[in-house]
C-alpha cells in the first residue's frame, strides 16, 4: 500500500478517539485513490457521513472511516461545488457504502456518481429538495406525508412471483419492507427497503447540550443502549481530554457484557423457537429475564439506557452485588452448558440450522460484514481483541470464530460469546479497581471532532461527534453495524426457502432503528 504509507509518513492529524485514529484531508482525486489503497490493504469500512459546513468555510464535506491494523483512518473530503455538491461513489470498492451514500443524499443533498438514486431514509415524508441536515433547514418545519410506490428491482422469468412483506410484520418486530422474488418456495432474490423508523436523530443531536447527548445516543437502538452511550461518551471524553476513572471503565465493560449476554440469550431462545423448539425459547427467555432483574438490582434498570454518562457511570455497585452476580454467572454457565449440548445434539434443530442462510467467507469479506455475522463467516474482527480500549486492554478477550457462515455458525458464535462474556464479567468483578465512578468533563472546544467506537453485541457501533459553541453539539453521526450487515441477509437468503426466512433473519437479528437513525 505505497500511497497510504506515504501519507502516514506525512504524519496525518490524530483524531481524538478511544482507539488510535487519524484524519486525512483528501481532494476529489485523493478521495478515490486513498479509498482504493485502503481497499487494497483490506481495511474495513466502518461508516460514511456528510456535513454541511457552509456556515463555517463555505464547503460541504464527506467523511468515511475505516478500520485497519493501526486503528481508524478517516478520510475528509471538502466539496467545493456548493450548488451541486457531488463526490465519487465508494460503492464499487465497498458495496456497503451504497446505502450510506443514499442516506447522505436524503439528509444533505450531496450526490454521488452512483446510478441508484432512490430515496433510502426519505420515503415521501418530506419534499425531495428539502435536506434536513443542511444548516438552512427550518428545524420546526413539518411536511405532510405523501405516498408513491418504491421501485423494487423486478426479477423476470417463467413462474417468478413476488411476495411483499412489511412494513408492519407479523410479530413483535420492528418495521421494514421486504420484497421476495420467488419460484415456488425458493427465494431468487430479496430486496430490503428500510428507513421506516427514521426519527431524525442526527438533526436532534444538533444543538443538544454535550452533557445530555448520551441520553439520545442510548436510544438509537434500545438493544444496544450501552454500546451507543459508551461510544458517545468516549468521543466526548477524548475531545475534552477527560479520562474515565478505572472503576467506572470496569463498570462500563460489565454493563456492556451484560448487554451482550442479554441479547445473545434472547436470540438463542428465539432461534430455537423459529426452528420449532419452543423449549429453547422458554429456557433462554427465563435466563434473560434473570439477568435483566439482576441489572435492575445492580445497575438500577433492566435496560441500561442512562447508566453510562459523560465522565463515568451513574452509580457504583451496591453492597454485596459482586457475590450476587458471581453466583448468578455460575448458574448461567451451568444451565447454558446444558442447553448448548441439548441444541447440539438435537437432530431436528441441527437440520434446520445447518446449511441454512449461508454467507460464505468471500461474500462476508467483499460485502464488508462486521461483528457477530462476520465472525460466523470466518472473518476475524472484534474491537475488543484488535483495538482494545480500557479496560479491555487488560482483559485479553478471546474472539469467537466459526467458518460455515450458516445459521448454525451464528448460533455457535453466540454460545461461545456467552461463555467469553461470563469469563470477562468474572475477571472484571474479581479485579475491580477502587476509586470514584465519575469525573468532571469539561466543555468541548468549538469545532473539535472526536470518534468513539465500541464493540457492541452486533458489532462495532461508532459515534462521531463535533462540538458546537457554548457546550452544545454541532453535529453527531451515529452508526450501527446493522447498516453493513442488512445487505448480507439479501445474500444469505438467496436459494433458501421462504419459510426459512424468519430463522435466517433472526440469526442476524439486525437493528432497524439503528440503521434508520
Amino acid at each position: 500500500m505505497p500511497m497510504m504509507t506515504t501519507r502516514f509518513d506525512q504524519a496525518p492529524a490524530t483524531l481524538p478517539g478511544n482507539v488510535h485514529a487519524v484524519c486525512i484531508q483528501a481532494n476529489a482525486e485523493e478521495w478515490l485513490a486513498s479509498a482504493k489503497a485502503l481497499h487494497g490493504d483490506g481495511a474495513r469500512l466502518i461508516t460514511l457521513w456528510g456535513a454541511d459546513d457552509r456556515d463555517r468555510d463555505g464547503s460541504f464535506r464527506i467523511y468515511a472511516a475505516w478500520l485497519q491494523s493501526e486503528g481508524i483512518v478517516v478520510l475528509e473530503h471538502a466539496i467545493e461545488d456548493r450548488i451541486n455538491p457531488k463526490y465519487m461513489s465508494l460503492a464499487p470498492l465497498f458495496p456497503a457504502a451504497s446505502r450510506m451514500q443514499r442516506a447522505v443524499h436524503d439528509l444533505l443533498g450531496i450526490s454521488t456518481t452512483e446510478p441508484d438514486t432512490r430515496g433510502w431514509l426519505r420515503h415521501d415524508g418530506w419534499p425531495e429538495d428539502v435536506f434536513p441536515l443542511r444548516r438552512d433547514f427550518e428545524g420546526a418545519r413539518k411536511y405532510p406525508a405523501t405516498s408513491s410506490p418504491y421501485p423494487f428491482i423486478e426479477v423476470e422469468g417463467e413462474g417468478v412471483h413476488e411476495i411483499a412483506v412489511g412494513p408492519v410484520h407479523a410479530g413483535i418486530i420492528e418495521p421494514g419492507g421486504f420484497r421476495f422474488s420467488v419460484v415456488g418456495e425458493k427465494v431468487l432474490r430479496l430486496e430490503e427497503r428500510l428507513g421506516y423508523t427514521h426519527k431524525g436523530v442526527a438533526r436532534l443531536f444538533q444543538g443538544t447540550p454535550q452533557a445530555s447527548g448520551h441520553r439520545l445516543a442510548a436510544r438509537l437502538s434500545g438493544d444496544s443502549a450501552v454500546a451507543f452511550s459508551w461510544a458517545w461518551c468516549a468521543a466526548l471524553e477524548s475531545i475534552t481530554g477527560s479520562v474515565c476513572p478505572a472503576r467506572a471503565a470496569a463498570l462500563r465493560a460489565l454493563s456492556l457484557e451484560h448487554e451482550r449476554l442479554a441479547n445473545h440469550l434472547g436470540d438463542l431462545g428465539a432461534l430455537g423457537n423459529d426452528a420449532g423448539f419452543a423449549f429453547g425459547l422458554t429456557q433462554f427467555s427465563r435466563l434473560k429475564e434473570d439477568l435483566l432483574r439482576a441489572n435492575a438490582q445492580i445497575f438500577g434498570a433492566r435496560y441500561l439506557m442512562d447508566f453510562i454518562l459523560p465522565g463515568g457511570v451513574a452509580a457504583d455497585l451496591p453492597p454485596l452485588a459482586s457475590d450476587q452476580l458471581l453466583a448468578q454467572y455460575s448458574k448461567l454457565q451451568e444451565i447454558v452448558t446444558d442447553l448448548r449440548s441439548i441444541y447440539d445434539e438435537h437432530a431436528g434443530i441441527q437440520d434446520r440450522f445447518r446449511e441454512t442462510g449461508r454467507l460464505n467467507h468471500e461474500q462476508a469479506v467483499r460485502l464488508g460484514a462486521l461483528g457477530l455475522a462476520a465472525r460466523a463467516s470466518g472473518v476475524a474482527c472484534d474491537l475488543r481483541v484488535d483495538h482494545p480500549w480500557p479496560p479491555y486492554d487488560s482483559l485479553q478477550t478471546r474472539p469467537a470464530m466459526q467458518t460455515a457462515g450458516d445459521v448454525a455458525a451464528r448460533v455457535q458464535v453466540r454460545f461461545d460469546e456467552v461463555f467469553e462474556s461470563l469469563r470477562l464479567c468474572r475477571a472484571l468483578l474479581g479485579d475491580i479497581p477502587d476509586g470514584p465512578v465519575q469525573t468532571a468533563v469539561s466543555v468541548a472546544e468549538h469545532y473539535r471532532m472526536g470518534i468513539g467506537v465500541i464493540e457492541g453485541w452486533r458489532g462495532p457501533v461508532a459515534m462521531v461527534l463535533e462540538a458546537g459553541s457554548e457546550g452544545t453539539i454541532r453535529r453527531c453521526h451515529a452508526h450501527d453495524p446493522s447498516v453493513q450487515n442488512w445487505p448480507l441477509l439479501e445474500y444469505a437468503i438467496t436459494g433458501n426457502l421462504v419459510p426459512d426466512f424468519p430463522l435466517i433473519n433472526k440469526s442476524f437479528n439486525l437493528s432497524y432503528s439503528g440503521q434508520d437513525g
Binding site: 420515503h123 413483535i172 446444558d338
Partner: protein, 171 residues
Amino acid sequence: MFDVLSRMVRTGILTEASSAQRLQKDIRSILGRALCIRLVDAGSCNGCELEIHALNNPYYNLEGLGIKFVASPRHADLLLVTGPVSVNMEEALKRTYDAVPDPKLVVAVGDCGACGGIFGTSYASRGAVANVIPVDHTVPGCPPAPLAIMEGILQSVRSNLTQSHTIQRRG
C-alpha cells in the same frame, strides 16, 4: 429427550403467581374470554419491543392468561403501539388501525408512544401515537417494565368496559 425433560423438571414452573393470577382473574371477569393483541412498532428504538417480548417469558406467561399476540390486525381486539410515530410509518399505522375490527382498543407503550419522548415532533417524527390515531391508554416508561405493560393492557380494557357500560345504561 431425557436431557430436555430433565431440564424442564429442574426448571419447574416459574410463572409468578401473585401478579399473574390477579391479572388473570381481572381479565376473565372483565372479558370473559381471550384478548388478541396486534403490536405495531411505529418507529421505536426497539427498547419497548424487548419488554413486550418479555411478557411471553415464563415469569409473566401472558399467553397463559389468555392474552395472545396475533399476526394480523384483523384478528386483533387491541393495538399495542410503540415509538414516536415516524413520518415514514404514519400511513402504515393508520392502515393497521383501520384494519382492526370495531370495537377496538389502542394502548400506546413507552414514553415515546405516550408523549413523543426524547424524539418529540420533527420533520421525521409525529411524536405521540395519539397525534395519529385515537389512543385509549398510555403506559409511560423508557422502556416500561413488563408488569407495567400488563397493567396498562388491563386498565385499558377495564376503563373501556366501564365507559361502554355507562353509555348503555344511559341509552
